[in-house]
Symmetry: D2
Subunit: 104 residues, 4 copies
């Protein structure tokens, strides 16, 4: 949106190439969350609300798994060429993120 | 928002009393999803995006668990007084919703 | 196994009728966990071990969802006839168990 | 146990060094699953059985996360030195395993 121009130079993020794809998916998720508000505000049946919550959760997890795969490819891949220590730090960080996803 | 007036009569939904609480939580989740869009659009670090996705997922699950508890209390509770068959149908429906939550 | 005879009187457990089914499934899960030990002890490929861990986790969740459905039917159903307070206590307990399942 | 001697040469598995630690944890998980059988066979209270199932699931996930971290370090790390294609194949495989864990 009002992203500063200098950021167009950034290429370090693994997901930069697919940024538009992720933004589109996140906008759809935003729409789904607004749909949830509408359901609650119109007293929709609980079970229907729960079904929609599960759908949003799955959509979010799918975004997370996509970002993670690209992160492992770009950031961890490049750390592997910077030596043992850099790789280990990146892997610890990625593993912690995976643990948070698995447990959330 | 533009909820039709006739819906004000509805009292059958277990979460109706706490509707404002749920709407508030869902609006905050909507804000978090917009925050995710901003992060991606500004090329935030992958791991930070993943941490935020985990936070949104947890917030959604927490809404789901709250709705489910109230649903079990109101809808399943009242079905228990309507006889074996009604209760069984409600429980099957609730169990399916729980399975979707556990697996999502 | 060496279950005391007086327990044969117990009929309050929702899953008692299907006990043999659950025991059979749990024995198969035990076998799968032993299979995991064999895989690790024979240096099986990590990804194959992880695939098997996911299978065991799914099998355990499936047992849990089955037990939960029967619990909601028997215990919660009968609490509904014992009055508001008994029902509420049972539902709080069940909801906490569901939350643990969703988050594990 | 009766692992053939020639396997002692294998060093390719990321978790080989910690094999005893993983075996110990898996043996404890096996004991927990036998404990579940005992609980069911003695008509333990549903909710207590569910609590124990959640504990076993968490223990299994924790084994999986440990294996995965070591796998990413050893196998993916070494694939990074074998060229783009090898790395990509390993990452695809690891990402699929992560997706199975997140969804299980």
């Amino acid at each position: 949106m009002d992203r500063p121009a200098e950021l167009d130079d950034v290429t370090a993020r693994g997901y930069t190439a697919d940024k538009d794809v992720y933004l589109k998916r996140l906008r759809r998720i935003e729409g789904q969350v607004r749909g949830l508000q509408r359901m609650v505000s119109e007293d929709a049946y609980c079970i229907d609300v729960l079904t929609q919550v599960s759908a949003v959760t799955k959509a979010l997890q799918s975004v997370a798994l996509g970002l993670l795969e690209e992160h492992l490819g770009h950031c961890v891949g490049s750390a592997a060429h910077q030596g043992e220590e850099a790789l280990e730090a990146k892997l610890k960080e990625a593993s912690d993120a995976i643990a948070r996803l698995v447990r959330s």
